[in-house]
Symmetry: D2
Subunit: 137 residues, 4 copies
Amino acid sequence: MNYRAVSKDTLIAFFDSEFPNNALTIESVGDKKACIRRTPKQEDLRPGNTVSGPFMMSIADTALYVTILAELGLVALAVTTSLNFNFLRKPTANADVVAKCTLLKVGRKLVVGEVTLYSDGDERPIAHAVGTYSLPS
Amino acid sequence: MNYRAVSKDTLIAFFDSEFPNNALTIESVGDKKACIRRTPKQEDLRPGNTVSGPFMMSIADTALYVTILAELGLVALAVTTSLNFNFLRKPTANADVVAKCTLLKVGRKLVVGEVTLYSDGDERPIAHAVGTYSLPS
Amino acid sequence: MNYRAVSKDTLIAFFDSEFPNNALTIESVGDKKACIRRTPKQEDLRPGNTVSGPFMMSIADTALYVTILAELGLVALAVTTSLNFNFLRKPTANADVVAKCTLLKVGRKLVVGEVTLYSDGDERPIAHAVGTYSLPS
Amino acid sequence: MNYRAVSKDTLIAFFDSEFPNNALTIESVGDKKACIRRTPKQEDLRPGNTVSGPFMMSIADTALYVTILAELGLVALAVTTSLNFNFLRKPTANADVVAKCTLLKVGRKLVVGEVTLYSDGDERPIAHAVGTYSLPS
């Protein structure tokens, strides 16, 4: 399979079409990196003025997927094989979660990347993830 | 802090009170193990007749939490510090996800456990997780 | 590539030939499981009557490799792509380390397994690992 | 317990005293980061002109330990509780392994950091690790 990087606009159109309710903002892509953000909904909040773990895990996985698609093209069949999370600080409920991803390896079969999550406006990371995607052969 | 194991009924009442919409069934608890299940909602399904990653990650984290509460009592302030997931097989959309958790270590500061996920009715695991919770001092 | 399970004796001969100084005892293999043990050398011990982390990580990785070879045959080119360790209790210096591995998934491209480590004679786990091997295509 | 950052020279003296055969070069420390290097010995090499996994895992763990000591002082009782490794590319046998560590969180009970490993002279990472240390209370 031949892979080819795609633009931010192509990615945005792809996500709007495939995941109509994604509520995702793709801020930047390119050079094996991407930055995305998402606003927690009411159902993503938790007592104590914080954001749910699944919301954070979901945006980390999505950030990895966006970065892979930006690098390789619309490889819709890429699937997550592993994700490792460390939860570092309590997120803020009334702030977007921002996810910055960098790919560490783009192989023929596997892609590995790391993601750091932030509450918008605070430079201290709230969580860190490392994930692996398997590419279709 | 003194910890004391609690019964399945106490746990069910706790979850119904604290998380009214949890849609969680606690099947068994005890001896540092627990088994829970949850039915995916429409919003947890994904194209290709499968279940979303965040749904699986969420039930794995919950299984760990249930097992810790069963072992130590209602330690509401226990927080997840790390989770490591391996996605093994495509889950089935029209089956409950069943999560079986075993605690590997119950320390004074940290609890470590592993969770295996299944699509109900199939004995092959769909995902495996290892997680760490930090206990309040 | 065609894979075929091999016997414990074949595995022992393979390890003796390929890794002459491995100091490894293969206790049992079969049914996607294996149990191995290794005696720590002087250089593997650490102050405080314990065993080094690298020794534990090495035997966990080896246990996974042995189990994969037992299941698939002598796939010499299988390589570790990820390993996740949790250190649970202080090992005992004057005891063998015993590693019990179970494969969670044997796919065409990836094999995932978990390993629990013990100090011989104590049933409480000292460490737990989950690892992924990539198979040659 | 009160913690206080220490200098590179203090750290070098500490490692020379505590681990006389460590063969470790501490290149830089400070600002929650450190860079160390180590030359693989004959016993750390593997067929195919490469370096053993345990050698890489060991230097990653050491890099985390050095960075923590630099940040917090000589907390000799800090212990590794988890390590997650991704092996990205085959290392080169005849090059030092260089480990660059950044702490993601320095809490009262836990420190989390990430480490990227390189074969000296090649800017593509050979492995990536995320680890957690528990601090004495």
